[in-house]
């Protein structure tokens, strides 16, 4: 094989075989040395980027992730009604029967605790999004649930004064170790309170009472009170009765309260009992409605697709997702309206922006720069200024109507309704977004040589053909970039539709803001936001493919 037939690669290998790998100045192989330099360069670049990346991740990406999480999160039901939801899991709505008494027993305990924590109204308004009327049902039950528990409390207290005193209770329930560390704890220097520890003999004999008492202690501590002295909730007495009625072997308990327990066990069989199923029906007959229980059961899981279904006008039913009745569908209509109006705005921006971009790109530089100021000034002017300007101009008694009346184009008594409707939103937003169309169009048109048009014309094309077949295709990237930019900005707009849109000219963003600040249905707001976000990100991806995010230009 002669040299002339060897490929360069073979040359290199032949050289390497003869002299060893090429070495850098410090004696290392050049390849290793180069790799090391490259690695260092990469590391330095990453070190420069890292602070900002972390900053954006924490201040911006994490909030977005949090919002997405909220759109499916639904822990409030199982957190507030833990016993009820687990009892309810086996209930089958298909039978047409209301849930068994155990569910109502559990509901009483959950409701009592939730009422003490003032969590029942929040759950009520959460479930009210799914079934109207639940909110008032919960509020009503919260007020009455105290009376239900007092039946047992009164009987225990009548039996023996021992049960009236919180100190006796804590001595009966809490272990000696817990009580001594609890009395040492003063709540100062930031130490958290010692965790409740039941007496082991009581814990095994009266499990339900201990469980409820534990919740009571946690609540008392969260209120900064002393659990050793507080009188327990009425529901604790109910739990004690339940344990006794279930045949708890109280003889196993020794120490403080053992005698009183034995006495109570003997008396318990003669106690007046409460039928919670009937008691709740007495509060509100809705508690015997299958629908209410179905709703609670459907929304028991920690995560739900309910908000998303709501956001597209659907609802959860026992037979799976279904469309809402026609008169309750608003969101799909709102999404379509948002899309449609954004498209109209994008269209009018193209229509108005194209001639201006053309003339800016084809005028002599001096004149063009001067006219460019007319485009850049609105771009730099505060959004609120432009929106208020339009509000002022478009009013019934505003400048536009006044001018039209003065010119005699419209009569004084039939002034045009230009504001608080779709027209207002479209006019104002076209004006506000027009610079975002003109600037990318201009930067594309600037690169199209004017000689192409002259060449086409000298070859016999008419004005229109030369424009349509030669110039326009070359300006399409500019139209694409401008349109996507304008469309992305338009569908997420909030301020302008809020001020000039009235009720018919508002966008989905206005609905999201309403759910966050007025109706407080944050889950639904998050779900609507997530859908909008998915849409925008899709467009962003398209923009990146067509234009490249690196090529976004600001102010020419």
């Amino acid at each position: 094989m002669t040299d002339s037939t060897m490929t360069p690669d073979e040359h290199r290998r032949a050289d390497e075989a003869a002299t060893g790998p090429m070495l850098a100045a410090d004696g290392r192989p050049l390849k290793v040395s180069l790799n090391r330099a490259l690695r260092r360069q990469k590391l330095r670049a990453m070190l420069l980027i890292a602070p900002l990346l972390i900053f954006v991740l924490v201040t911006f990406i994490a909030p977005i992730a949090d919002m997405l999480f909220r759109s499916i999160e639904n822990q409030i039901v199982s957190d507030t009604l833990p016993r009820t939801t687990s009892e309810l899991a086996t209930w089958d709505a298909e039978t047409g029967e209301i849930p068994p008494p155990e569910v109502f027993d559990a509901l009483f305990k959950d409701m009592f605790i939730a009422t003490e924590r003032k969590a029942h109204t929040r759950l009520g308004s959460r479930l009210n999004y799914e079934l109207t009327g639940v909110s008032s049902l919960f509020r009503k039950s919260g007020r009455r649930v105290d009376d239900m528990g007092e039946v047992y409390q009164d009987q225990f207290e009548d039996l023996n004064d021992f049960w009236k005193d919180g100190e006796n209770w804590s001595a009966l329930m809490g272990s000696d170790a817990w009580r001594s560390s609890m009395s040492d704890w003063d709540g100062k220097d930031g130490r958290s309170a010692p965790a409740f520890e039941p007496r082991s003999d009581v814990a095994s004999t009266l499990p339900e009472t201990v469980a409820i008492y534990r919740e009571f202690v946690d609540f008392v501590l969260s209120e900064d009170d002393n659990p050793l002295a507080e009188d327990p909730w009425a529901v604790v007495y109910a739990a004690l009765y339940e344990d006794l009625a279930n045949g708890a072997d109280v003889s196993a308990v020794s120490g403080a309260g053992a005698a009183e327990l034995l006495e109570a066990e003997a008396a318990a069989s003669n106690f007046e009992t409460v039928d919670y199923t009937a008691a709740f029906a007495d509060v509100d007959k809705d508690w015997h409605s299958i629908e209410v229980w179905q709703t609670i059961q459907t929304y028991s899981p920690d995560f739900t697709s309910g908000y998303f279904l709501n956001a597209v006008d659907m609802q959860k039913t026992p037979d799976g997702p279904a469309m809402r009745p026609d008169n309750e569908r608003i969101y799909i209509k709102l999404f379509i309206r948002t899309m449609f109006m954004s498209l109209v705005i994008t269209g009018s921006c193209i229509l108005l922006g194209y001639p201006v971009a053309w003339i800016l790109a084809n005028l002599p530089a001096r004149t063009a720069n001067l006219l460019m100021i007319l485009v850049l000034l609105p771009f730099w002017t505060s959004l609120l200024v432009r929106t208020s300007a339009w509000k002022v101009m478009l009013q019934q008694q505003g400048v536009v109507n006044d001018t039209l009346v003065w010119l005699g184009i419209v009569a004084d008594d039939s002034r045009l309704a230009l504001i608080n409707n779709q027209t207002g939103t479209i006019i104002a937003m076209t004006h506000i977004l027009l610079p975002f169309m003109i600037l990318p169009l201009y930067s594309v048109m600037k690169t199209i040589p004017p000689s192409y048009l002259r060449a086409a014309k000298s070859l016999g094309a008419t004005n229109w053909t030369a424009f349509w077949r030669v110039y326009f295709p070359q300006s399409v990237p500019g139209i694409g970039a401008g349109s996507i930019l304008v469309f992305i900005l338009a569908i997420g707009y909030y301020i302008t539709p809020e001020i000039v849109g009235g009720t018919t000219g508002t966008f989905i963003s206005n609905r999201i803001a309403y759910h966050i600040s007025s109706s407080l249905n944050w889950g639904l707001a998050a779900a609507l936001g997530a859908i909008l976000l998915a849409f925008v990100l899709g467009l962003y991806w398209a923009y990146d493919k067509i234009v490249g995010i690196d090529n976004v230009k600001l102010g020419g």
Binding site: Q41, A45, M46, L47, L48, I49, P51, L52, L53, F55, V56, T59, F60, I61, P63, A65, D66, M67, P355, V356, I359, L374, P378, W380, S382, L384, V385, R386, S388, W390, V392, Q395, Q397, G398, V399, L407, G408, H431, L434, N463, I488, I491, G492, Y494, I495, E498, S509, A513, I516, A525, A526, G529, L532, L533, V536, L537, I549, L554, G555, G556
Partner: protein, 392 residues
């Protein structure tokens, strides 16, 4: 492109009807305003046709003829409807005088290439009129708020006194309200406290990252860029909602720091974009040369790289500043009453108790944006000069 098109005077049969047609259009408006459109059209057309003929064929002296027409129409307007109508009359006088001679002397052809057909010439000027109308649409709202802010009444439209240029129709009371009302002054103070802090954060982090991003070998460059630009792309209402939820969890909702962090995040894309654009033209051999001569990286950055990219950094900073200064959606959710900024105050003003003080504020803000625009434009040219590009 200078077109040397030979021009000759046109015949009256061409320009008299054209001027008359425009006269008819002007007459239509004047006529309707006075009560009879048809009469206006006829009078306008006849009057302007005659004037065009008289100017070009009888008076012939262009300067004096146009001046006389201007004065005559201004006087006619003044006698009909005071100063405002007088000004409109003067404008008509100037326009028709100019137009008559423009057509008569074929000046409209002078700057166009010789081979254009009359139709193409007509289209050329129609197109310019259309573009002019669009530019007027762009600028009118900003122009209109300025005189309205001097309104002596609490109205949002021009009062008859204003149209008569009666000094009694104008006053500075809305400005006075802005500078004395504690709501507005508190809002201004908050804006002035929040925007610079947010700008400082975005510029400091953004410039470093932009330098990092323009190194030749950056892993995941596209993905990082997408994350950093996203605050500009994600609709503000979504950012606001997410920040509201998240910042309430970590106790930043309703605090000054929370608003500053949120605004800094929103300003970062602008800094990244402008600074990376400046760095595209940056000659990396300059830093190597500095290192070669013994400068450490910090010295190199501050003495060599920074002065060259400074225009980009400053204009990025101005973008970030205006983003924060102008932002209302996020501060509405992340802030509480204690962080009420100027745009927030304007927003509530527009939504609830609409007061003309807003227009005074708007005028002040427009003047600020004109100042900012001038600075950015000057910086852009300087940057292009520094990088050896022609000032565009």
């Amino acid at each position: 492109m200078v077109a040397l098109t030979p021009v000759e005077r046109t015949e009256p049969s061409f320009y008299v009807p054209v001027v008359a047609a425009f006269g008819a259009l002007a007459g239509l408006f004047v006529g309707t305003a006075q009560g009879s459109s048809l009469l206006g059209i006829l009078v306008g057309a006849a009057l302007m046709g005659v004037i065009a003929f008289v100017l070009t064929k009888v008076i012939k002296d262009e300067r004096r003829g146009r001046l006389a027409l201007l004065v005559a129409l201004a006087a006619a307007g003044f006698s009909m409807g005071g100063i405002a109508a007088g000004i409109i009359g003067a404008a008509f006088g100037w326009f028709f005088g100019w137009m008559s001679f423009w057509l008569y002397e074929s000046r409209y052809r002078q700057h166009l290439v010789p081979y254009l057909t009359p139709g193409q010439v007509l289209w050329h000027y129609t197109f310019r009129v259309i573009c002019g109308a669009i530019l007027v649409f762009l600028i009118t709202p900003i122009i209109v708020v300025m005189p309205l802010s001097f309104n002596a009444e609490d109205f949002f439209t021009f009062t008859p006194e204003m149209l008569r240029f009666d000094p009694a129709g104008y006053s500075l009371k809305h400005y006075e309200d802005f500078f004395t009302n504690s709501d507005w002054q508190g809002a201004l103070a908050n804006s002035v406290k929040i925007a610079p802090a947010a700008t400082l954060l975005s510029v400091a982090f953004g410039t470093l990252a932009a330098i990092g991003l323009s190194q030749p070998h950056v892993p995941f460059r596209r993905a990082i860029m997408a994350v950093l630009i996203s605050p500009m792309i994600v609709p503000l209402i979504i950012s606001a909602a997410g920040m509201y939820f998240f910042y309430s969890r970590i106790g930043l909702q309703g605090t000054y720091i929370g608003v500053v962090l949120a605004h800094a995040a929103l300003g970062i894309p602008f800094v990244i974009i402008t600074v990376t654009a400046t760095l595209v033209g940056f000659d990396n051999s300059l830093t190597r040369a500095a290192a070669n001569m013994g400068a450490n990286p910090v010295t190199t950055f501050f003495r060599v790289q920074m002065p060259l990219i400074l225009p980009g950094v400053i204009s990025g900073g101005l973008f970030a500043f205006i983003t924060s200064f102008d932002e209302v959606v996020v501060v509405l959710f992340v802030g509480s009453a204690g962080q009420k900024t100027l745009p927030w105050q304007m927003f509530t003003g527009l939504r609830e108790q609409i007061s003309p003080t807003i227009l005074a504020v708007a005028t002040i803000l427009v003047i600020i944006s004109i100042a900012l625009l001038t600075v950015v434009e000057m910086l852009r040219r300087r940057s292009e000069r520094l990088r050896g590009m022609s000032p565009g």
